[in-house]
């Protein structure tokens, strides 16, 4: 049913449709509206789940680790500092191969303290083994949450999935969103079954330590599961389209890139703004396009390469920076495209929108314009110096 609602409420309704039995969270802006809404749904009897109010994000992640290990589908959400406090547990959840789903309401990290949006928080977990999906708009936010459980719980994957949505821009922005029917979601997402769980009738040990004889193989298995995810995520998106009639999710989405000469690669809500600029440039006769990365981890290297190999000028526009190097997505893209056949002449890196700085259409135009000049690797857009 179509509703005009806030992004956070849309997340809550999507999570409700996935029927989790345990939700645990600690409040942090801009994640709060998501978990407040879930708590209200439970309090109103519209949703049957245990809501555990914890004393920290570290414990929030630990609670849902415990509940998932007991075989109950679970959910948590966080942002920024909360994400960083959680990160020890996030690595552990992935290593224990627990198919949890969480939302990261993307926000800048301290210092200086800043509650506004960028993607530096979730970027810190890019090596954790979690699958990371980045949403462009609130319809995608809803669809990705529903797909996330199906991806995580796939027996060939068994890795946790985080859906990243830009704080405030999406969490607090109201849009018309189609909330799917429960019957269709039930058809798409079967009940959760965990084979290695805490069960008194089959008393296994979970989380035994692995010495040098076994540890490498445990990490290798996670890498294999990530490779499997690259095959399965598009299948899940196909199945989603069959049931819900909507293209959503997958690995990447190209917009007017087929004959493009200049393409910006980006993730999250900024893609919407770039699409508008692309339309304007096209109207002016310029061959511009945008490539959206939906699945950032596992990084869909081959798909990205095939989409970009004939594009001469490429820019990566990202709301994160690996300080001392360049933007993380830029680094990833360089490693994928370097030394490969094609028409690529430059892959420039731009950092934009940190700490909630507005990204205007003009600033995106500037990026397109500068692409015809020399390659840059870590250019901060819109710097106010002096």
């Amino acid at each position: 049913m179509k509703q005009f609602i806030e992004g956070s409420k849309a997340v809550a309704l999507a999570v409700k449709l996935a029927r989790p039995g345990v939700i645990s969270a600690y409040p942090i802006t801009p994640q709060t509206h998501i978990v407040e809404e879930l708590a209200q749904l439970i309090a109103d009897g519209e949703m049957k789940a245990e809501f555990v109010n914890v004393e920290s994000e570290h414990s929030a992640a630990s609670v849902v680790l415990g509940s998932t290990a007991t075989g109950v589908r679970s959910f948590t959400a966080t942002s920024s500092q909360g994400f960083l406090l959680m990160i020890e547990v996030l690595f552990n959840i992935a290593g224990m191969r627990l198919p949890l789903v969480m939302t990261c309401a993307n926000r800048a990290i301290s210092a200086p303290l800043n509650i506004w949006n960028d993607q530096q928080d979730s970027m810190t977990a890019r090596d954790s083994g979690w699958i990371q999906l980045y949403a462009e708009n609130n319809q995608e936010v809803v669809d990705l949450h529903i797909q996330a459980y199906k991806i995580a719980e796939n027996k060939e994957i068994m890795l946790p999935v985080m859906v990243c949505m830009d704080g405030f821009i999406l969490t607090h922005g109201a849009e018309v969103v189609d909330i799917p029917d429960q019957t269709l979601v039930d058809k798409f997402l079967p009940a959760f079954e965990l084979s290695d769980k805490l069960d008194i009738n089959n008393p296994k040990t979970l989380g035994a330590f692995a010495d040098p004889d076994h540890y490498t193989e445990a990490r290798y298995a996670m890498q294999v599961a990530n490779d499997n995810a690259l095959k399965i995520i598009p299948q899940v998106a196909d199945e989603f389209k069959k049931i819900f009639g909507r293209v959503s999710g997958g690995l990447i989405e190209g917009y007017r890139i087929e004959d493009a000469e200049q393409v910006i690669v980006a993730m999250g809500s900024v893609v919407g703004t770039i699409k508008d600029v692309v339309d304007e440039l096209r109207a002016e006769g310029k061959k511009a396009g945008v490539l959206k990365i939906v699945t950032y981890r596992p990084f869909p290297a081959e798909v990205v390469y095939r989409a970009l190999k004939d594009i001469p000028q490429i820019a990566v526009l990202e709301k994160a920076v690996s300080l001392g190097a360049s933007g993380p997505l830029h680094i990833d893209l360089k490693s994928v495209l370097c030394g490969r056949e094609g028409k690529i002449s430059r892959v420039s890196g731009f950092v934009i929108g940190l700490g909630g700085r507005d990204i205007t259409k003009n600033s995106i135009r500037e990026v397109f314009d500068s692409l015809s000049k020399e390659e840059v690797s870590c250019k901060f857009v819109g710097l106010k110096l002096g």
Partner: protein, 297 residues
Amino acid sequence: MAEAFKTLFSPGHTACAGCGQAIAARLVVDTAGANTIIANNTGCLEVFSAKYPETAWGVPWIHSLFENAAAVASGIEAALKYLGLKDKINIIAQAGDGGTADIGLQALSGMWERGHDILYVCYDNEAYMNTGVQRSGLTPFEANTSTSPIGKILATGNLRPKKPMPEIAFAHGIPYVATASVGYPQDIQRKVKKALAIKGPKYIQIHVSCPLGWRHAPNLTLDVSKLAVETGLYPLIEYENGKLTQVRKLTKVKPVEEYLKSQGRFKHILNSPDAIKLIQAIADSNIEKYGLIEKKA
């Protein structure tokens, strides 16, 4: 052959010979029985009992991190509630003293405050033994550890008394708090049984000697642990529903010196009457505070 061992904590684990924690952990799980799920913090117990691909545990058991067993157990409890299985299954969270009183205290406080139906067991061997006997918040006054060493200039051991964990637990208003000692195995069984019959959060702190860290012969684990109780340094107490209900009375109080000289970690103060006096004062204060001596009519 394996079936000959009627325990849920099997032989073949890799604890040091004479490990007090291994004794207490077996008593706890065997008293709780097969309908039990355990969440274990990182530490000696976790490392010596669960080295992939083997495990000593005969109950469902999970290890996540150093500081989060109380929160993981809270999640297990929530999941069992959701599944309608909570009343049929005991949940135990367990850790060493560092995992409990230091790094895990916040998660533990949260578990108590939220009122989860979980028994938390702290195996108190009074230092970070797993990493090589570093000082923890439950290391006793003057103990020589690898991070409170006896030096040429600084010739004292640990400068602070033990963090009062039972009182911290008690202050949370939870229905059951007890201390126990591996020197009194049947008392551990009784307290675990009693705790598991009570709904809500429970805390039992078991004093478990570590022959390696305390520096005594491995066959003296129980004797040394007993001396801590008999001197008044480790009072065995029970708080139920906000009241001190039981204490183990001492018929003959032994001088703390007897306990101190049984271990290498206090060797540096054996010739220091002043230091011994300070430790005797801790024991005397415990005896007074908890009424460890039967008052004559």
